[in-house]
């Protein structure tokens, strides 16, 4: 259960004190009890609460609920944070597998961040996620990204992400169309 720690309680001074002296207060809107996520959805991360500058505005002093021996304002807490992890890319390549070696992939890399000559590298297979290993074969296309991961809680980590492209399978329509186009080209090229 997420809890509101004393930092929040200080905003409730004058409204009422928990007679037990316990800094934990369960203050909620009754409607939230119908929330399928339960009462937890009314609480925010402690660190987020401590950063909230306008928490006073969230206190609805007209609506109160009796939680035992004292009355307390209902605090309509802001929606749960939708903040997610963000990646700041420093370098991006498109690559393809030239050859599958014993424990590595010989790959050709095309720099998508800065122009310049293509590069080659041997990437150890252990750098490829288990999910993507089934996609490894000559000609398979992947993207390689190096950058910073900014997590929702403010942590910054340097990361490398290699993801193989999940291209759809060839359909009969596509292959039939290619054969028709080949016949058309043979007619139209105008070989001597």
């Amino acid at each position: 259960m997420l809890i509101l720690k004393p930092k929040l309680a200080q905003y409730e001074e004058g409204i009422g004190q928990d007679p037990t002296g316990d800094p934990i207060k369960l203050i909620t809107d009754p409607e939230s009890l119908l929330d399928p996520k339960g009462i937890l959805s009314c609480f925010r991360n402690v660190e987020e609460e401590s950063r909230s500058e306008n928490i006073e505005e969230n206190i609805d002093r007209k609506r109160t609920i009796n939680l035992g021996e004292f009355s307390s304002p209902v605090i309509r807490l802001p929606a749960i944070s939708r903040r997610s992890n963000n990646m700041a890319s420093l370098q991006k390549w498109q690559g393809y597998v030239i050859k599958v070696l014993n424990e590595a992939l010989l790959v050709r890399l095309i720099d998508l961040t800065h122009k310049g000559p293509d590069e080659e590298a041997e990437i150890p297979i252990e750098e490829i996620s288990q999910d993507d290993r089934g996609l490894i074969r000559p000609g398979a296309i992947f993207y390689w990204n190096i950058g910073y991961l900014d997590s929702y809680n403010g942590q910054r980590t340097r990361i490398s992400v290699i993801r193989f492209q999940r291209l759809p399978a060839w359909s009969k329509e596509e292959i039939d169309a290619a054969e028709r186009e080949a016949e058309r080209l043979q007619q139209i090229i105008g070989w001597k």
Partner: protein, 394 residues
Amino acid sequence: MRPNEKLSDSNKSSVGNRIYLPPEQDEIELSLFGPGYGESVLLHIGANQWIIVDSCIDPTSESPAPLSYLRKINIDPSVAVKQIIATHWHDDHVRGLAVILKECKSAEFVCSVAQTSKEFLTLVSAYGTRPMMESTGINEFYEIIKLQQTRNVIQKSQFIPPKFAIADRCLWQYEINYGEQNIPGAIYALSPSDASVLIAQMGIAKLIPQVGETKRRVPSLLPNHAAVVLLFKIGEDSILLGSDLEETGQAETGWMAIISSGTRPEGKASFFKIPHHGSVTAENPHIWSLMLKPQPISALTPFAAGKVFLPTNDDVDRICNNTDQAFSTGVPKHPKAKSRPKMVEKQIKEMGLKLRPVYCSPGQVRVRGRYINDRINWIVQLLGDAIPLREMYN
């Protein structure tokens, strides 16, 4: 300038623009460019008529090296280039060829007969319309075919039909005034043999995607059986361009099929573009004894990918045992690694990886000469990183 003179930067400045003067009307010139992205031969057969074989992209300028060079010597490619020949469809030989064809409006396009089959065109139609990766040989051919199609349909009056190359086919016959004499010239394809074409077509058919197969970049067809070897005949002399054709050990395919052909044009060449970067896989001693004059001027482009470096020290020894006049457009080495932000470098290092740029600026082996007394008196000039072959590992 002395024969076989290496042009240093100071030489270049002292002779001013001399190295960028075009050849005389009666002067034959051949330039081999590499190892940018690919290799290319540019040939002046005389009378301001030029032929481009394959393409080589300069990674710095990102434009085809033969076009850049023609502009430097004040030649208009749209008028002067008469034929463009694609010896095979590997990425490192055709990248930039569509741009060349677009600019060279007076040029006829020639490619291996293996690239005219329905299987190849199906492959081009399947992958060319859905580029999954930039700059594949297939995409390049798709662009070429689209350009030919547009010229055939919309610019009918300017359309020059393409031609295919197969063993012992004459691709062009001409007569050029060299000094006081009119000399007959001809361009012959010496490969692919019939058997090589069949093998190549079967290989291409296997690359056509199947229903349900996951899409990917089209892989290269290896080994290369269908490459076009060219013989340029100028009077009694000739030039042999070995493309990337390999030796297969069988009489019907590869170099042995050329050597044993009863319909191959006669004559021995005084210039040889060594096939497949000097690799032993393209070596057949009969080439030197039956198809080349003694001590022919020979040139190659080096190759460096992964841990493969061509020519090897042994290759250099073997070639130099056959001729004292062998040259390379550069040294087979990985160019200096690209510089990147510190954090990127750190991450790459922590992963234990080493990124190697694949291509560097191309060097140029240039030979010029006049046809006198039944042979061309070649003068060799080495531009950029080009070196005599025997100096490669010294």
